[in-house]
Symmetry: C2
Subunit: 218 residues, 2 copies
């Protein structure tokens, strides 16, 4: 059966996957871009940015990229929470089509979990957003029917990942721990006592100072 | 001026430095010994155990020991919180002399922060426990007067370390992050937003799977 995988989920040392006060101008709230600075110069991110402005790929980021690029491998569908798709209030904006422009970096169907009905949005490059009010298990069943033999990427945010972890539905979790203290925001790890049992856990600190932690039960 | 250093403070991936339900039979509460398994086979711990039973030193722990042994270097005094000195209720036990037997591994004066007055306890090997009701800054002033030119070790627990960090009094903090999720207990990182500013921060994962994170401003 296809696996459920989480990639490149950045958390602060104190366990916050996003800061306080998320809004259109600040998708990560008061965290700004600090949780993702390691990711931007990687070949993987630069390859995702499509028509948008690219930076040079920094060869020093190869170690980070060896983790980052796994997100592209063998994925047939993504599931994301409503808070990843847009800032608070996006449901009421009929023009909102996600953060990613006309050619989003998914290139697969994407299931957006939301309690508000919404017509599908089909964009360029193979990305179609489907909106669904569903439990994690129901969403995963729908995702697998879209993924064929390929895997399911669980794209975040923290609340969505935590719910799938608590339900025992995640086969691989890659967290990039950034050595900053955010102090407030959305915690990834709450309520997951004993999560490590049943997984192999491996950690590696890269030259950027980020520690990649991988839980894997495949 | 002598530096204030924290060594070998173990936390779970979700930031708990000890578990719930600490008591005489379980100094780390429901965490048991899981936060310290990496430390027990090190040469440093084995050298500390005095008359008690020793394990063999495991050469595979050399990388961990390269962090662990720094705790012994150039320390003139330790400050610890009341919860490190004994289990709940130790104040009421006139026989309680700490967890460490007649020859404790400190070999210096130790200041125990407590609101209850207590006569000093002088044990073998140079360890004398002094009991003091004081703010972090006051305790540090007293500690420095005992330390001479040597450094001050801040021995924990988590609440004591957090208070000294919040007061800006810690010059070096070594945390050993163990890849388990405790879910409950005493959090180290709460209320320390932006702690990293003013420190160099370095991380390293050792073969034991522990990630050593060092904050240093010396």
């Amino acid at each position: 059966m296809s696996a459920v995988r989480v990639h490149n989920l950045a958390v602060s040392l104190d366990g916050f996957a996003t800061g306080d006060d998320q809004r259109l101008e600040a998708p990560f709230g008061h965290a700004g871009t600090r949780l993702m600075e390691w990711f931007f110069p990687t070949a993987t991110f630069q390859g995702m940015t499509g028509d948008r402005e690219r930076q040079a790929v920094d060869p020093a980021t190869e170690a980070d990229d060896s983790f980052a690029r796994r997100t592209l491998d063998g994925i047939g569908v993504e599931i994301m929470g409503a808070n990843k798709f847009g800032p608070p209030g996006w449901h009421d904006d009929p023009e909102w089509r996600g953060w990613w422009g006309e050619n989003p970096p998914f290139h697969t169907p994407v299931i957006v979990l939301t309690h508000r009905p919404h017509a599908p949005i089909e964009l360029e490059g193979g990305t179609t957003f489907h909106f669904m009010s569903a439990s994690p298990a129901e969403a995963l069943e729908a995702a697998r029917s879209l993924a064929g033999d390929l895997d399911v990427r669980l794209g975040g945010g923290a609340t969505t990942v935590r719910e799938f972890l608590a339900a025992g539905l995640v086969d691989m979790l890659h967290v990039a721990q950034v050595p900053i203290l955010l102090g407030r925001g959305e915690r990834l790890w709450d309520g997951l006592e004993g999560l490590e049992s049943g997984y192999r856990v491996a950690s590696e600190t890269t030259p950027s100072g980020v520690t990649h932690v991988v839980f894997d039960r495949r």
